[in-house]
């Protein structure tokens, strides 16, 4: 095999894209193992935890190569997961040159979103509907939507200055509670609790939690524990942010 380093690097690109899009560790490892085998490595040892990936492969002429990747930020992008999944299935049948694989992955990662205002729209829909879902009135729903706009803006700003996710969660939660209290104060919203809950649903770490449970029970204990702990910390950060504001208002409106 020529240039095994580049090949391994392209395989890691696939794994990295999966992991940063929120795939389970088992899927990431499985995909990389399959890709490595498809490219003709005789042995591939893969370890993925939420923060790092390490792959050691052995080529047919007994050369051993190790590469690692540090993972700093994870999000949730199901479109990416599915696209990489499909690509890897194709590549396993017909291994394309590593540069081409790299280019395909880059294309998936940077593919423009068809729905340009996807995130703001998602925030509005989610917060509004859950405020009503939990028992709020229509006016509460609209007030929750207003607060979610603030939540979105803070999220974008926080991302831009690369704020620590935990700090960002706490700041968002505190700002959102303040905004919710203000909407009630001005008579716009009626029930403070439902307005806040509708927005909490946007912050709450559902994905890491469900993922971590699945991880633990397919044998990826370290990964699972890490993301489970991350989820607990996020929940605590939400509670802390709310508590900061509620302490000032005494739990009622401003």
């Amino acid at each position: 095999m020529d240039r095994p380093e580049q090949t391994l690097s392209a395989v890691l690109d696939a794994g990295e894209l999966l992991l940063t899009s929120g795939a389970e560790a088992a899927r990431v490892e499985d995909t990389m193992r399959r890709l490595a085998r498809a490219y003709g490595f005789v042995r591939a040892d893969v370890l993925t935890i939420t923060a790092s990936m390490a792959v050691t492969v052995r080529t047919a002429d007994d050369q051993v190569i190790t590469q690692t990747r540090r993972i700093l930020r994870r999000g949730t992008d199901m479109r990416c997961i599915e696209a990489v999944n499909e690509l890897s299935r194709k590549v396993c049948v017909n291994p394309i040159p590593p540069e081409e694989l790299h280019a395909h992955l880059e294309a998936i990662r940077t593919a423009p979103d068809k729905l340009r205002c996807r995130l703001p729209l998602a925030y509005l829909i989610t917060s509004g509907s859950f405020a009503v879902f939990f028992g709020g009135t229509w006016r509460d729903g609209i007030a929750a939507m207003l607060c979610s706009v603030l939540l979105y803006v803070i999220g974008v700003l926080g991302d831009r200055i690369s704020l620590q996710p935990l700090v960002l969660t706490m700041v968002s939660s505190a700002a959102m509670c303040t905004a919710a209290a203000l909407t009630v104060k001005t008579g716009m919203g009626q029930n403070l609790d439902y307005i806040i809950i509708g927005n909490i649903m946007l912050l709450i770490p559902g994905i890491p939690f469900v993922n971590s449970m699945r991880d633990i029970f397919v044998g990826d204990t370290i990964t699972g524990l890490l993301s489970a702990f991350e989820a607990v910390l996020r929940a605590l950060a939400i509670a802390a942010g709310c508590a900061l504001v509620l302490m000032q208002t005494g739990g009622g409106a401003v």
Binding site: G22, E82, R118, I207, V210, N211
Partner: protein
């Protein structure tokens, strides 16, 4: 009562749609997720009628949703979590997290203990449901492999 149930189910569906958008799910998959969320909340309400216990109802509903997600994932050839997580969204105990915090801030120790326990129990029930179905599917998969190898 019926109106309230309908409203809840419709709102659960719209909420799931929002989460679907948030997770970059697109096209017909969004409709699948909305229907899944409706099933999720419907089963919860039924289980609530039957057992009159929120934690049990959470568990039963998670079991049903996870089984449905595994089945649909195989039919649609999609990764399981892309369906499972948005479909479970109506069960996320956001309300109890808030009431726990509120009780803590107000110095209501009894309320804090009650809601805090409820939050942990509900999250635990969801986790247990997800795990149980994942284990079952894995076991069935292995058995199926064994069966087809023998042929």
């Amino acid at each position: 009562m019926t109106g309230e149930i309908l409203l809840q189910i419709v709102m659960a569906m719209i909420g799931a749609l929002g989460f679907g958008l948030l997770f970059h799910i697109s096209g017909s998959r969004l409709i699948t997720i909305m229907l899944g969320a409706a099933v999720n909340w419907g089963v919860y309400l039924l289980a609530m009628q039957w057992y009159d216990n929120r934690v049990t109802a959470f568990f039963v509903s998670t079991l049903a949703t996870a089984a449905l997600a595994e089945l649909l994932a195989r039919l649609l050839k999609a990764p399981v979590i892309t369906l499972l997580v948005p479909m479970l969204v109506p069960l996320i105990p956001g309300g109890d997290l808030y009431y726990t915090t509120l009780a803590l801030v107000q110095g209501d120790t009894a309320g804090f203990a009650r809601y805090g326990t409820l939050f942990i129990e509900e999250a635990g029930a969801m986790a247990f449901g997800v795990i149980l179905v994942a284990c079952l599917v894995q076991t069935l998969g292995k058995l199926w492999l064994l069966h087809s190898e023998r042929k």
